[in-house]
């Protein structure tokens, strides 16, 4: 504050300036956190994170679609022939063994969203799916057998609560 232009210890002043700036920037960044966080799913949205499905009424060969976190999930009761066909088949676009995609072979659970651009594929009478948007094809294990989709249909986290009930969104 004095009229003098000289500083006794410029290093000390620079250090204080830098540390004040750092503390201010850190504080401002921390103050941004509640704003950013408020845009994350709220607790009522998180409450929709799991879906409980009674699968006792789905006949062999039948398919049932349920909503999980706002997304369609296909639950297919596969016939022994389909299981056998899928277990012996290999795909090339996104190779994955059938037994890695199921918990119990007769139940296939996949997220019904095409891995290309997010449309919902339609059920193919042969047992797979065909995406209406860009023509991607999936087999009865939800594996992609024709592009442009790059990956197999996603298998959500799920477990069997009992023989006739599954919980999607939670492992055990």
């Amino acid at each position: 504050m004095s009229g003098s232009d000289t500083i006794d210890n410029p290093d000390r002043r620079n250090f204080l300036g830098k540390i004040t700036t750092a503390a201010g920037v850190t504080g401002a960044a921390a103050a941004c956190w509640p704003f950013v966080s408020s845009m994350n799913p709220s607790t009522d949205v998180l409450a929709k994170a799991t879906t409980e499905v009674d699968i006792s009424s789905i006949p062999p060969g039948g398919e049932h679609t349920v909503a999980w976190q706002g997304k369609p999930v296909f639950i297919v009761h596969r016939t022994p022939e389909q299981i056998k066909a899928m277990e012996s088949k290999e795909t090339t676009i996104d190779p994955e063994a059938d037994d890695k995609r199921v918990v119990k072979p007769e139940w296939l659970v996949v997220v019904g969203i095409c891995t290309h651009l997010g449309c919902v594929p339609n059920r193919d009478p042969e047992g797979g799916w065909l995406c209406p948007c860009h023509g991607s094809m999936y087999d009865a294990s939800g594996r992609v057998i024709r592009g442009p989709a790059p990956r197999n249909l996603e298998v959500p986290v799920y477990h069997f609560e009992s023989d006739t009930k599954i919980i999607i969104g939670k492992k055990i």
């Binding site: 509640p34 704003f35 966080s37 408020s38 845009m39 994350n40 709220s42 607790t43 009522d44 949205v45």
Partner: protein, 414 residues
């Protein structure tokens, strides 16, 4: 790299020159007290209100069937929703505290006087916008106080000559405050802050033309100005720190201090709460409204009580420079006026009773009386002061400066 980028910009846009001229090097009177912090604080509160408001709007639902519950959703489900809401609700009160202190400082130190009339009037416009915004925002939680406050205030427009009833229905979009009113208030509550932002720019352009006033009330010579940075950036930051401690004490420990308990009851058009009162910042004006036993008269008196500040540059006819510090009569009037506002605020918060009506009318008369007496008082005060001889402190500031008046006025040129 940074230097190169800045010089690249400077060749195309006067960035460095602008920052130096308007911010870092901006000449500021060296004698500014902490009363001059409140303009900066008002800007800070405005930015915080816009930020919290935008994030609240992401979760709020402007629908009479959903609005009340969406506030509960924000309070309980949204991450930090309680914080955003309490920042916003406390912030609206804080905004008025800051603005009222800012205005009181202007009145005390005579900052409204020539050449700062336009600065004062743009401030008056900002006050009106702020009042409109807070009134419309108060409807959004859709509680009982929200509802009946909006019902009463929109009813004031019945005082419009000839077409009053039609105007009220037009404002509400319904025959009473309803869903249409809520959605339009939300739309306008979202829009107006950005109009305020524009008006603040005009306010600042006016400020940077006439420069800050100062506690002496006299335009200082260039040698008495110091650069804004670092002297006043530091002073503003310190003031901000003090402000934030008080502000967050309310946000974290007394968030309901500014929220009427009745507003936790959903709006019910069939039943008015036994005692309704506006938010504290409207109480003095509300008391004036109630003091006039006539609808039109009350509305006119209330409108006048806000707008009359605009006339200050012309009602204060004294040629004595300096603020209230050097003007004993004006100083007394200032304090009478401030006390009177608190009395009016108290009256506005009380249920109507014969005593309160008398007190309210007396206080209203004093309110307008101070303004009406001012032109005569200020002239007489000048004569009285000149007859007695100007105080030495004022002489030292005023008299040697007088011949150089034109020079300091044109001080922009350096």
């Amino acid at each position: 790299m940074i230097k190169k980028t800045i010089s690249w910009i400077d060749e195309r846009f006067p960035l460095t020159a602008f920052v130096k001229h308007e911010l870092t090097g901006y000449p500021t009177p060296r004698n500014l007290s902490y009363w001059w912090n409140f303009g900066f604080l008002a800007g800070f509160v405005l930015v915080l209100q816009i930020a919290t408001g935008i994030f609240l709007a992401m979760h709020y639902k402007a629908d009479s069937g959903l609005a009340f519950d969406s506030i509960q959703h924000i309070m309980r489900d949204v991450n930090y929703g309680w914080l955003l809401r309490y920042l916003h609700s406390t912030g609206s009160s804080a905004f008025f505290v800051v603005i009222y202190v800012h205005m009181a400082r202007t009145l005390y130190y005579g900052s409204y006087r020539k050449p700062r009339e336009l600065l004062w009037w743009t401030g008056q416009l900002l006050l009106l916008l702020l009042m409109a915004i807070s009134f419309m925002g108060y409807l959004l939680p859709w509680g009982q106080m929200s509802y009946w406050g909006a019902e009463v205030i929109t009813n004031l427009f019945r005082a419009t000559p000839f077409i009053g009833d039609k105007v009220v229905i037009w404002l509400r979009g319904d025959f009473s405050v309803g869903d249409a009113t809520l959605t339009r208030f939300f739309a306008l509550h979202f829009l107006f802050p950005f109009i305020i932002l524009g008006a603040v720019v005009i306010h600042l352009v006016a400020l940077h033309t006439v420069r800050s006033s100062n506690p002496s009330g006299i335009n200082l010579a260039d040698k008495d100005n110091i650069p804004f940075h670092p002297y006043f950036t530091i002073k503003d930051m310190y003031g901000l720190g003090v402000y934030l401690i008080i502000f967050f004490a309310f946000v974290f420990f007394f968030p309901h201090f500014f929220i009427e308990p009745n507003n936790n009851i959903p709006a019910n058009p069939m039943q008015t709460p036994p005692h309704i009162e506006p938010e504290w910042y409207f109480l003095p004006f509300y008391a004036i409204l109630r003091s006039v036993p006539d609808l039109v008269g009350g509305v006119v008196a209330m409108g006048l009580s806000v707008m009359i500040f605009a006339a200050m540059p012309y009602m204060d006819r004294s040629n004595i420079p300096g603020g209230a510090h050097y003007r004993p009569w004006y100083r007394v009037m200032f304090y009478v006026f401030i006390i009177d506002i608190f009395v009016l605020g108290y009256v506005g918060s009380q249920p109507v009773s014969p005593d309160m009506i008398i007190l309210g009318r007396a206080a209203s008369l004093v309110y307008f009386g101070t303004f009406l007496v001012l032109p005569f008082m200020s002239k007489k005060e000048e004569q009285w002061m000149r007859a007695r001889g100007l105080p030495p402190a004022l002489k030292a500031l005023f008299e040697p400066r007088a011949p150089r008046e034109h020079e300091t006025q044109g001080g922009n040129s350096k």
